[in-house]
């Protein structure tokens, strides 16, 4: 069968199965098994089916496009693009629901479904208590008691299914509008799941914060979409790439160099076009004239700004979703949700969607935009890593770690490391999901998030500790240098190598490399700090320690599976080129293999081609450097938290201004509260006040004036008009009163009057009309 028909079918089914599960749980959830327990199995069945379908698709893809072709930019593997049905059509403009499938899509599908499957199974154990009536110790009612509520087991899986559907839709999306659609949907799923404990004020606040901060990013994304839409008239990835990277442009004959599309040039040259149209009566002649002018306008740089705006706008959305500086504030708060949610959404998949979109949209980014991406990523990784140093909440440490790692990915993409950045996305998804699930296991066992209350749990929960150690090693990039390593070793090395290559080309941006390298040390430090504080040493809280226990098998098995992935995700199948990295290399978008340079605004900036970083003279020193800084970080953590040669309290007191600064997360929340939230609320009150005071006041004043005038009018009326009318009425009334006296009611009088009247009439007639009556 034709791959172009099979893959959309397979992936489409894999995409829609969770939706079916969602619908089923919505309507029948509470009735599925005891207390909705069946809902969990339905959701797991759905995601398992998705996983199977995705892996089938992956296999089909690999059979059709075997890996190992090297960097063959001349014959890129064409993506399969198409559309299912249109959402809206206006003239030649169309927004549709479609698909765009290439190696990246297939790989993402496999990764998302496998990780999600593990997390679903894990949730079966973790959310077990939702099957009964739940006592939430964190919520105190008005009468002083703690809250007791019904369990919401099925609802959890309902949201998870919806999320899987949305996430897969985001991945398969064939155009940016569809990406935006599912972008919002994963956002709302995140909202629902962060706020899963709806009774907790902190949870609903965090949910709101997450969604609204994301919307700030979306605002930028909409601006980007508008720029793109107005310029290109299409949202389809396929068509966008064709327009931005037309064949035959660029240094090499096959190079798809970045080109400002005609539409954007025309948009920027609207005044010139208007002039042409006014000077040329015939539309066809005018179009001809415009076409002749187009290259000249493009050379002048018209429309390039629009392309930059489009790129920055799209990246803005990614900043929000991937929790990059300055919109990173929502992710740590999002840890209010259940831990499997944190693992799935806020570590492995949804937050990586921003990185994914940057990767997907890579051909459209100009060097200027890429530099912004790199700088933002760099700042993010540094800020988040520093905050993670002092956090004591186990999930928050992991959350900041996630932010920091996402920063790494952005940084890599920003300096031209397309494969490196996305490779890190995949490896990170596995080990960060693992880490979160391990922390969930710990929380499940101890009932607390605070690391200072843990300690010595290694003996109580060996499996959890072991798998978490694997995760820590993976994220720190452990391995035997130049020989073999865990997955993180490969991906982080790739990033640093590309950075090193970049720094060599652009000395003025070399600081990006140093910060990233320093970040690697920080990563190792805070991860092992976490592990040491949790599992080693003596128990700090006897009550917690006594309560702790190893988690049930349903939770441990996913940990082990993920740990295996965390180890091997970076490896190729021995003896072949079959692996994640070659797959991504194959999926590399058009025209990016050659690097990028000569932006209009930053002509000196050069992004080196990625294959250059594989060169021996770059690769070896960077690997050694990365290993040594990671070891340094590990040793520092061990000195303080394992061997206890230094007292952490003493150090924090010694550097108290720094410590306070980091403990308060660089005062970002307070700053935003002051800069944005309060002014907006003040604006809201102002608007309401204007309504009440100014507009309504005006209306009331107008009404008052009219009423005043009407009172005057009324006075006139009563004096003159009414006076005349009343006088007439009075006279008539008086006359009536008089006349009434004749009406005696006595019949006999009436007869008498009739008779008298007759006589009178006759007399009158005789005197007045006698001649007439008598005739001639």
């Amino acid at each position: 069968m034709d791959l172009a028909q099979v893959l959309p079918l397979l992936l489409g089914l894999a995409w829609l199965t969770p939706l079916a599960s969602f619908a089923a749980i919505v309507f029948f959830g509470p009735r599925m098994g005891h207390a909705g327990k069946g809902a969990g199995y339905v959701a797991i069945g759905a995601i398992a089916a998705s996983a199977v379908l995705s892996i089938l698709a992956l296999i089909a893809w690999l059979i059709a496009h075997p890996l190992g072709g090297g960097h063959d930019a001349a014959h890129p593997v064409a993506a399969i693009a198409g559309e299912w049905y249109p959402l809206a059509v206006a003239g030649e403009l169309k927004i549709a629901i479609g698909y765009y499938i290439d190696g990246l899509t297939v790989a993402m599908f496999a990764m998302v479904t496998v990780v999600a499957l593990c997390i679903h199974v894990y949730s079966l154990g973790y959310m077990h208590e939702e099957l009964h009536e739940v006592t939430d110790p964190l919520v105190t009612l008005a009468n002083g008691q703690t809250l007791k509520r019904r369990g919401r087991f099925h609802r959890f899986f309902q949201y998870l299914s919806l999320f899987c559907f949305s996430m897969l839709g985001l991945v398969i999306a064939g155009n940016v509008a569809m990406v935006f659609v599912f972008w919002e949907l994963v956002g709302i799923c995140s909202y629902l799941l962060i706020g899963f404990y709806i009774e907790r004020k902190s949870a609903s606040n965090a949910a709101n914060k997450a969604f609204i901060v994301n919307r700030v990013g979306d605002f930028g994304m909409i601006v980007g979409l508008m720029a793109l839409w107005s310029g290109l008239g299409t949202f389809s990835f396929d068509e966008i790439f064709q327009q931005v990277r037309p064949a035959g442009h660029g240094p090499a004959a096959h190079g798809h160099a970045l080109t400002v599309p005609d539409g954007m040039v025309r948009f920027a040259a609207r005044e010139e076009i208007a002039a042409i149209y006014q000077g040329t009566p015939d539309a066809r002649q005018a179009e001809h004239a415009i076409r002749e002018q187009l290259p000249g306008w493009r050379a002048e740089g018209l429309g390039y700004g629009l392309l930059v705006v489009a790129g920055l706008g799209i990246f803005c959305g990614c900043v929000g979703k991937s929790a990059q500086f300055p919109l990173h504030v929502w992710l740590p708060d999002a840890m209010e949700g259940p831990t499997p949610v944190s693992a799935l959404i806020h570590a492995a998949t949804m937050v990586a969607a921003g990185v994914y979109l940057v990767g997907r949209f890579y051909p459209v980014f100009t060097p200027e935009v890429l530099l912004v991406i790199a700088v933002v990523g760099c700042i993010t990784l540094f800020i988040a890593a520093t905050i993670a140093l002092t956090a004591t909440d186990i999930k928050r440490v992991l959350a900041y770690s996630t932010v920091s790692q996402l920063g790494y990915m952005m940084l890599a993409l920003g300096v031209g490391g397309w494969v490196a950045g996305l490779f890190h996305l995949f490896t990170h998804a596995f080990f960060k999901a693992l880490l979160f699930l391990c922390s969930g296991s710990v929380i499940h066992a101890t009932g607390t998030n605070e690391m200072p209350r843990m300690g010595g749990l290694l003996r109580k929960m060996p499996w959890t500790a072991g798998t978490m150690l694997v995760g820590c090693l993976a994220i720190a990039g452990a391995g035997i240098p130049l020989v073999i390593g865990l997955s993180g070793y490969y991906s982080k090395d790739g990033i640093l190598a590309q950075l090193y290559s970049f720094a060599g080309q652009n000395p003025s941006y070399a600081w990006l490399f140093y910060v990233a390298a320093g970040g690697a040390a920080l990563t190792a430090f805070y991860m092992f700090r976490l592990w040491f504080m949790t599992f080693l040493g003596s128990p700090r809280d006897e009550h917690v320690y006594a309560h702790a226990h190893e988690s049930p098998r349903v939770m441990v098995v996913p940990l082990v599976i993920l740990a295996v992935f965390a180890v091997i995700a970076g490896w190729n199948v021995p003896g072949t080129e079959l692996g994640l990295q070659p797959l991504l290399e194959q999926a590399r978008p058009l025209g990016t293999a050659e690097g990028a340079s000569q932006g209009l605004f930053l002509p000196t900036l050069t992004l080196p081609a990625e294959h250059l970083s594989h060169a021996h003279e770059i690769h070896v020193p960077v690997t050694l450097l990365a290993f040594s800084v990671a070891v340094a970080g590990f040793l520092l953590a061990a000195v303080i938290y394992w061997w206890r040669l230094l007292d952490a309290d003493v150090i924090s007191r010694m550097f108290w201004p720094v410590h306070d600064f980091l403990r308060n997360k660089w005062w970002f929340d307070e700053l935003y509260q002051f800069l944005f939230v309060r002014p907006v609320l003040a604006g809201a009150r102002l608007a309401a006040g204007i309504d009440r005071v100014v507009i309504d006041g005006l209306a009331h004043a107008l009404a008052g004036a009219v009423r005043l005038f009407s009172r005057f009018d009324d006075w006139i009326d009563r004096l003159f008009v009414d006076g005349a009318v009343n006088a007439t009425a009075n006279v008539t009334y008086e006359a009536g009163l008089r006349l009434r006296e004749i009406q005696t009611g006595a019949i006999r009088q009436y007869v008498m009057w009739v008779a008298a009247g007759t006589v009178g009439l006759f007399v009158l007639a005789m005197f007045l009309w006698s001649y007439t009556l008598a005739g001639p």
Binding site: L93, L141, I198, G231, Q243
Partner: protein
């Protein structure tokens, strides 16, 4: 027999009202049931009309894909003033007719709790439905005006008698604001009437305007007469044809150097934006909504506000294109200001219904904005696609807002029926107490939030995406509204539905949602989802007519306005613009083949 069906749809509720008038007022249940049956019958009739016609023979139902007016009939009503009883439907009005009959049905079902003067309520309700349907179907300006006023009066009483504590104030405010608007509309209508001249139309335009034999005779008489005397008309189709002529009769100067159509446009626009409502003439809306009973709020937000948008697309633009072109910035600016201002004001509200009312102001701003983006200019090579998108988005937004706002008001009403307060700070914990209700409500609120997959998203995104080509600053500001919208809606959900427990009075009254209430809310949510997932269900009916309107205006811009702007009329343009509109000759701004 088009006149039978359309007339039946319009006047069936009125006939029902008449029948109820002869029923004893003590039989309340029967009256309610009867009214419900009438509204259901009207809905079924309109739904029957919506079944796409097979296209063979005389179409008895709606012909999907036909852009021109359908089921048109014109019968002399007051011949002395050229007033006709003329009705018809097209893709612009028919979806609104469907929305009206659908919401009326649901609103009647939501009226079961009305206990005061049930008979009077039902009579006024049905009269209101007649007025609303008539407004959307009328093809005669005068008839339109009559229906407009017919709808106004029952509304006044429905708010003023069955409303909340400050109902008199709210009713009078509503009435005065709307009356100011309709008076201005009347002036504009008369100005257009007395400037109109049927004898200037070409034969093809006469056919398009469905002129009747007696009118053709009048034209012939006027043409052969030695002293030419204009043949006036209220025919909306003919007025639109005249407005878009090269030498339009509406171009004559009227006052202060402005033409008839400039004044007519301004007056009509004021009349319609009061109804939309747009800042700064929106303050009647929160008061009216807060005081009106729940079903009336549903209709007020769901249908009445749409008349403003409908009026703009049906009257302002086709009849006064010159003024519309010059003042497009005003329409857009009003739209954007309403969006931002409404959202901000909503955020500051403490009253649940008031908040929803302000959200309506914000959402209806999209309608104005989408209609106003006149992108078919010389700089864009007279390509109207973005404007088409904006107009389609605006129309879709009207339908979507009709569903979501009616739903929101109903959801507020369900709570208010139970606890008799609307103070946002005194709610909370609804999810635990009324789970089904909360699920439906959150779904509907998400639709208002513009969440993809629900109807609110489509309209908003189409409108917003179309703006950039008109003005970048407006586009950026309008895009920022998504943040504010998320802010106030999520904050509301948090305060009402989330949280550990209910904080307000009468906690014992919070019984689960009844089956009847589900029957009202569930269809709204179902359609919100359907239109969000498959918006073509609406666009298939709507787009051809909307596109045609825009194409005509774009062509007018190219052939009439552009030479005017250039100060030369030398272009070899046809005398009038009529007949079938072919797709514009020029391509999209982007021709992919050109760059290959």
């Amino acid at each position: 027999m088009p006149h039978v069906v359309l007339s039946l749809i319009v006047f069936l509720p009125a006939a029902g009202a008449l029948a109820i008038a002869f029923t004893s007022k003590d039989r309340e249940d029967f009256i309610k049931l009867f009214s419900l049956l009438i509204t259901i019958a009207v809905f079924l009739l309109t739904a029957w009309l919506a079944i796409p016609s097979t296209g063979r023979g005389e179409p008895s139902t709606f012909v999907v894909g036909q852009s021109a007016m359908q089921q048109v009939f014109r019968i002399p009503w007051i011949p002395a003033f050229d007033i006709y009883y003329a009705m018809g439907i097209d893709g612009i009005s028919f979806p609104l007719v469907l929305l009206t009959s659908f919401l009326s049905m649901l609103a009647m079902a939501a009226s079961w709790n009305i206990a005061k003067h049930v008979k009077g309520y039902c009579i006024l309700f049905l009269l209101l439905e007649t007025g609303m349907l008539g407004v959307f179907m009328a093809l005669d300006f005068f008839l339109f005006y009559v229906f407009w006023e017919v709808m106004l009066l029952p509304m006044y009483f429905l708010i003023g008698v069955w409303g909340g504590p400050r109902r008199e104030y709210a009713a009078i405010k509503f009435f005065l604001f709307t009356l100011v608007g309709s008076v201005l509309m009347l002036v504009a209508m008369l100005a257009l009437y007395f400037s109109s001249d049927l004898s200037k139309l070409t034969p093809s335009q006469q056919t398009a305007a469905r002129l009747q034999p007696e009118e053709l005779r009048a034209i012939a008489a006027a043409r052969s007469s030695s002293t030419p005397r204009p043949v006036h008309t209220f025919n909306m189709l003919a007025l639109a044809e005249m407005g878009q002529m090269k030498q339009s009769p509406f171009d004559t100067p009227l006052l202060w150097g402005k033409s008839v159509q400039w004044w007519a446009f301004v007056l009509l626009l004021i009349g319609f934006i009061i109804k939309v409502p747009s800042v700064p003439v929106h303050t009647w809306l929160p008061d009216a909504h807060v005081e009106a009973p729940t079903p009336i709020s549903m209709l007020l937000a769901g249908v009445l506000l749409k008349m403003g948008g409908y009026g703009i697309i049906r009257f302002c633009y086709p009849m006064c294109p010159d003024a519309a072109y010059d003042l497009a910035w005003l329409v857009c600016a009003l739209g954007v200001v309403s969006m931002v201002y409404g959202a901000l004001a909503a955020m500051a509200q403490k009253d649940f219904k008031r908040l929803v009312a302000y959200s309506s102001v914000s959402h209806m701003g999209y309608v104005l904005l989408g209609m106003g983006v006149w992108t078919a200019t010389a700089g864009n090579a007279f390509v109207s696609d973005y404007w088409k998108m904006g107009m389609n988005g605006a129309m879709f937004q009207m339908i979507a807002h009709g569903l979501s706002s009616a739903g929101m008001f109903f959801m507020v009403g369900v709570l208010y029926d139970r606890v008799h307060h609307r103070d946002l700070d005194n709610f909370g914990g609804m999810f635990a107490r009324m789970p089904l209700y909360s699920g439906l409500a959150v779904g509907i609120f998400f639709a208002a939030l513009g969440l993809p997959g629900l109807c609110g998203f489509i309209g908003e995104v189409l409108v917003v995406l179309s703006v950039w080509n008109y003005d970048i600053a407006l586009a950026v500001v309008s895009a920022s509204v998504v943040i504010l919208t998320a802010g106030y809606i999520l904050w509301t959900i948090q305060r009402v539905y989330l949280g550990p427990e209910y904080k307000g009075p009468h906690p014992e009254a919070l019984t689960p949602i009844t089956r009847r209430e589900v029957a009202v809310a569930a269809p709204l949510l179902a359609f919100a989802i359907l239109f969000g997932v498959y918006p073509q269900a609406v666009f298939r009916y709507m787009s051809p007519s909307v596109d045609r309107t825009v194409s005509q205006l774009a062509r007018w811009t190219k052939e009439v306005k552009a030479p005017r702007l250039a100060g030369t009329d030398a272009l070899p343009a046809p005398v009038a613009i009529a007949g079938p509109i072919e797709p514009s000759a020029s391509a999209l701004p982007v021709a992919p083949s050109a760059s290959k």
